[in-house]
Structure formats: structure tokens, C-alpha cells
């Protein structure tokens, strides 16, 4: 009965119940958000081992700071803001603060291969992977602004999470969009 009621509760309510000692509330909260967070981390950095570490750090931080949570913001925003900071910390620790440039076996940037249409007629899966590679070629700020927008956050929320103003977020999103379009335009030309 209690479990059924918890399934109808909001993320914020579940998180507050967990702060009062309800482990079951966090179980539901975790299963409701874990895959979305993991996908966001994967699109931000295509390295499963790395994103597992970042995801674990994110969730542990969420668990340990439950008593300090105030329901002034959505739990999902709170969760992704922590994940974004953990991601930035990871990049700083590993020297990936700038845009990642993946290279193929010939030493050529993968992004350049996308422009040349080296993969022929791509499938959707291939296009998705190409998109991820294109995202990696963006600056971290542009990539994060674009990915967070795709996760459904507003410009204001993105500005808060990335510690910048809304106009900057808008500009980053526009630039990222144009860059991706330009990179993938070759794939659709065929």
C-alpha cells in the first residue's frame, strides 16, 4: 500500500521522505531517474566506465545531501545540476576541459569523416552515433547547453546549472545547433 502511494508521489516528495528515513521512497526515486541521468552522461562523454563513475558520484552526492534539500527546485534539476558538476570535475581531473577530438585508425578526426560522408548511407543508429561524435566536437559549454536543452530544461534552469546567464545559454545552444547541422548535413545530402 505504501509502495503504491509512493509510486504516485512526486520526485520531490519521495526525496523528502527519504530524508526522513524512508529507504523505499529513494528506491522508487532512483529507478525513476537513473536511466535518464545515465543517458545524459553517456551523451556528454561516450565512455561507459567514466560515466558509471560519474553517475555513482552523482547519486551518492544526492543521497548524502538529502537533509539539506529544499523543495524550491525540481528534484530532476537538482539531480542534473549535480551530475553536470561531477562531469565538469571529471573533465578537469582528466584534462578533457576542451572539446574532444576523436580520431579514426588513420589518425584523422572522426568528425571530418562525417563531413566527407565516409560512412555511406548511415542508419539511424549510425546517425545517432555520428551525432554523439559531433557533440563531442563541440566545446563543453555548448555541448552541455545543447544536451541539457534536449533533456527538457529551460534556459533559466540551464543558466543556473551551468552558472551563466540566459543569453549565454541561448547563444551556446544556437551555435551548437548550427554546428551539428553543418556536420550532419553531408549525411542527408545523399
Amino acid at each position: 500500500m505504501l509502495k503504491a502511494l509512493n509510486r504516485l508521489a512526486s520526485d520531490e516528495s519521495l526525496y523528502q521522505k527519504f530524508a526522513q528515513g524512508d529507504a523505499g521512497a529513494f528506491d522508487i526515486l532512483y529507478h525513476r531517474n537513473k536511466d535518464g541521468l545515465f543517458a545524459y552522461l553517456y551523451r556528454s562523454y561516450v565512455d561507459l566506465a567514466a560515466i558509471e563513475e560519474i553517475a555513482q558520484e552523482t547519486w551518492l552526492a544526492v543521497i548524502d545531501s538529502a537533509r539539506e534539500y529544499r523543495a524550491s527546485a525540481k528534484f530532476r534539476t537538482y539531480l542534473f545540476a549535480i551530475a553536470h558538476r561531477k562531469l565538469v570535475d571529471f573533465w578537469r581531473r582528466n584534462g578533457h576541459e576542451n572539446a574532444m577530438v576523436r580520431e579514426d585508425t588513420g589518425g584523422h578526426p572522426v568528425v571530418e569523416s562525417l563531413k566527407a560522408g565516409a560512412y555511406g548511407s548511415p542508419s539511424n543508429a549510425e546517425l545517432s552515433m555520428d551525432l554523439l561524435l559531433a557533440l563531442e566536437s563541440l566545446s563543453r559549454e555548448q555541448q552541455q547547453a545543447y544536451l541539457l536543452k534536449e533533456e527538457g530544461f529551460s534556459r533559466r534552469e540551464i543558466a543556473v546549472m551551468t552558472d551563466c546567464n540566459e543569453e549565454t545559454v541561448k547563444s551556446r545552444i544556437r551555435y551548437a545547433h548550427n554546428h551539428l547541422r553543418r556536420l550532419l548535413e553531408v549525411q542527408y545530402a545523399d
Binding site: A23, Y30, L37, R43, E52, L127
Partner: protein, 363 residues
């Protein structure tokens, strides 16, 4: 690739979410959930400690607040009860003669004769209370009359006894004896004060030519209510004879007992009061200090005072006025029984007066 900017954006979003994004591995989930359960136990323990700590630290203010709240509620409820707040929000209805059982006619004579006292339709509860008090006075008068040896045998006699009692009690209100004997009964229709005044205005007025030689017939109205004037009225002589017989009966039944003497004294005081009501003009009144007397006797009436003195000194076997113990039949004396021979009372009013005058002369 769509050329439109919006279409391009949608297509990019579709591509971004179409791929099979990796899911959170189960191993990671187990680690995270294990840590969450451990922290949940800690949070629960801390929450319990916090609750106990709050109660421990704030029990005094909480107890004080609860006490003040209880007192305030009690005072409020008590006030509401006193104001009749729980008897409904409707305004109190005026007491009417038809609806109020307490607004019945109260005058004893009116009750006896079936004459109703008009009650105002807008009579208040205060009126009912006053009427109830007067009804209690009536009951007291009835009780006195019932205890009297003069047991009425019919309604007229009963009314007579009630009238006598009230007349004796209202002696203090009597101011002048200048008009012929009338019994006034004014049941005014307006208000309880008027009703009460009407009852109290029932007073006996004695003609100025009343004297010790007044005939018993002239005192007939003294004993009767105006509404019962048609009933056969006993004379004062009859009354005195009744008193004498009752006194003898009461005294003989238990001559040595205190009760018998008290009854004797009470009856004699009634006789003296009746005598005084005829003899005496309007003067101040004093209460005789008698253990069973509530009869008011004028202070100026030396005759009555002496008689009272005599009454105090009467003992079984004594003879009133010394040598007058030889009660001759022609004098109309009534002698007591053999064991109470000393107490002799006149059978008529004139004889009573003569007895007292002789006794005074002997003194």
C-alpha cells in the same frame, strides 16, 4: 537534412534519442541503493532523536500553552452557560399568561374564590419569579392555617383562616384606621409590582368607633374576604370559643409537654392579636418575643402587653386573675378540664376584655 531550422532541430533531437542509450548497470544500482538504505536508517534515527529532543526541550512551554488553552476554553464555556448561550440562538420569549405555568394567579383569596388576577401579556420572567414568591407566601399561610386548631370544614372557613393569617402578617403595613371595615383587593393588570402591591394592599381597616365593647358582629368583615362575604361569617365570640376549646384540647392532650404549652401560647397570642386589632388605633408595632409567635402586637397596647405577661406566667393549674377562678356560669366562662383547671378563658370578646381589665386593676 531539413533546411528549416525548426525541422532540423527536431530531427537532431530524434536522432539523439533514437539510439540505444546505455542503461545504468545493475551492479551500479546495487551499490547506490545499498548506500541509500544505510543512509536512510541514519536519517530515520536522527529524525527520532530530533523529535525526542524537541519534546524534551520544549515540554514546559508546551505544558503552559496547553494549560492556558484549557482554562480559556473552560472560562468561555462557563460564560456561555451563564448567558444561556447553549440554549439556542433564539431570543427569550416573553412569558404570557397562556404559555407560562408560573404566571398563574397568586393571590390567596383570588385562588380560593376563583377570581383570576389579570396578567399582562408581556409579563417578564421577573414577574413570574415575584408571583412564585407570593405563591410561596400563600403556601406558608395555608400551612399556618392548616396547623391552626381552627381547621376549616369548608372552603369558606378555609378562606377565613387564610384571611386571618394574612391580616395578622400585614399588620405592619397598616397605617390608618379611619374608614369603615373594608377589604380591598386590587389586582392590577399591569406588571408584577402591581400584582404584588395588590396582594399587600389587602388590608383591614377598622372603624374609628371601634372599642372594647364592639360587638362581635362588627368584626365579621375582619375575618372574611370580600369575595367570601356571602358565606356565613362566624362571630368573634365563636372564634374565641374555638380558640378556647382548641387550647384546652391541645393543652390537655399533653399538658406537661413543651409542645402543649407552645400550642397554648400560640393560640392565646392569636386571641390577643385579634383583641388588639379591635382595641387599638394605628400605632407602631413590636414583635412579641415569644418562642412560637410571629404575631405582631402594637407596642402601645399596654393591655395586650400585660396580657402577654400573664400568658408568660400561666402555668397549668394557675388561675387567671386570681379570684376569678370561680367561673360562674352566668359570666359565660368556660372552664378547662380537671387537670387544667387553672386556665380559663372567656367565651366572648367582651368577657376577654373585662378579664384583662380586671387583671390590670388587680395589678
Amino acid at each position: 537534412m531539413p533546411t528549416d531550422s525548426n525541422d532540423t532541430s527536431k530531427e537532431l533531437s530524434r536522432l539523439l534519442h533514437s539510439g540505444d542509450a546505455p542503461r545504468s548497470p545493475g551492479e551500479l544500482d546495487q551499490r547506490i541503493l545499498q548506500h541509500a538504505r544505510q543512509r536512510a536508517r541514519e536519517y530515520g534515527a536522527e529524525a527520532g532523536v530530533d523529535q525526542r529532543g524537541w519534546l524534551w526541550q520544549h515540554w514546559k512551554p508546551a505544558a503552559a500553552f496547553a494549560s492556558v488553552t484549557v482554562i480559556a476554553v473552560s472560562v468561555t464555556l462557563q460564560g456561555n452557560y451563564q448567558r444561556g448561550g447553549f440554549q439556542g440562538a433564539s431570543a427569550p420569549q416573553p412569558v404570557t399568561a397562556e404559555s407560562s405555568p408560573r404566571a398563574e394567579p397568586q393571590a390567596p383569596s383570588a385562588v380560593a374564590t376563583g377570581q383570576s388576577i389579570p396578567v399582562a401579556s408581556n409579563e417578564s420572567v421577573e414577574t413570574s419569579r415575584l408571583a412564585e414568591e407570593e405563591r410561596a407566601e400563600e403556601d406558608l399561610a395555608d400551612a399556618l392555617a392548616a396547623n391552626s386548631p381552627l381547621q376549616p370544614t369548608d372552603t369558606a372557613s378555609r378562606n377565613q383562616g387564610v384571611a386571618q393569617t394574612e391580616q395578622l402578617q400585614n399588620r405592619a403595613d397598616r397605617q390608618a384606621v379611619e374608614e369603615p371595615v373594608v377589604v380591598q383587593q386590587e389586582a392590577r393588570a399591569g406588571g408584577a409590582a402591581d400584582q404584588q402591591q395588590a396582594v399587600r394592599e389587602r388590608q383591614v381597616r377598622i372603624p374609628p368607633n371601634a372599642s372594647a365593647t364592639s360587638t362581635p358582629a362588627s368584626s365579621t368583615a375582619l375575618l372574611a374576604d370580600s369575595n367570601t362575604a356571602q358565606a356565613p361569617q362566624p362571630t368573634l365570640a365563636d372564634f374565641l370559643a374555638q380558640v378556647t376549646r382548641s387550647t384546652e384540647t391541645a393543652a390537655f392532650s399533653d399538658q406537661d409537654s413543651t409542645t402543649g404549652r407552645a400550642e397554648q401560647r400560640r393560640q392565646l397570642q392569636r386571641v390577643l392579636a385579634l383583641v388588639d386589632s379591635v382595641l387599638v388605633e394605628s400605632e407602631p408595632v413590636r414583635e412579641l418575643e415569644s418562642e412560637s409567635s410571629s404575631v405582631a402586637v402594637p407596642a402601645y397596647s399596654e393591655l395586650v402587653a400585660q396580657a402577654e405577661n400573664l400568658l408568660q406566667r400561666i402555668q397549668p393549674g394557675d388561675t387567671v386573675a386570681g379570684g376569678r377562678s370561680a367561673a360562674s356560669p352566668e359570666a359565660g366562662w368556660q372552664s378547662g378540664a380537671a387537670d387544667f383547671e387553672g386556665l380559663e378563658l372567656p367565651a366572648s370578646f367582651e368577657e376577654t376584655v373585662a378579664l384583662l381589665q380586671d387583671w390590670l386593676a388587680a395589678q
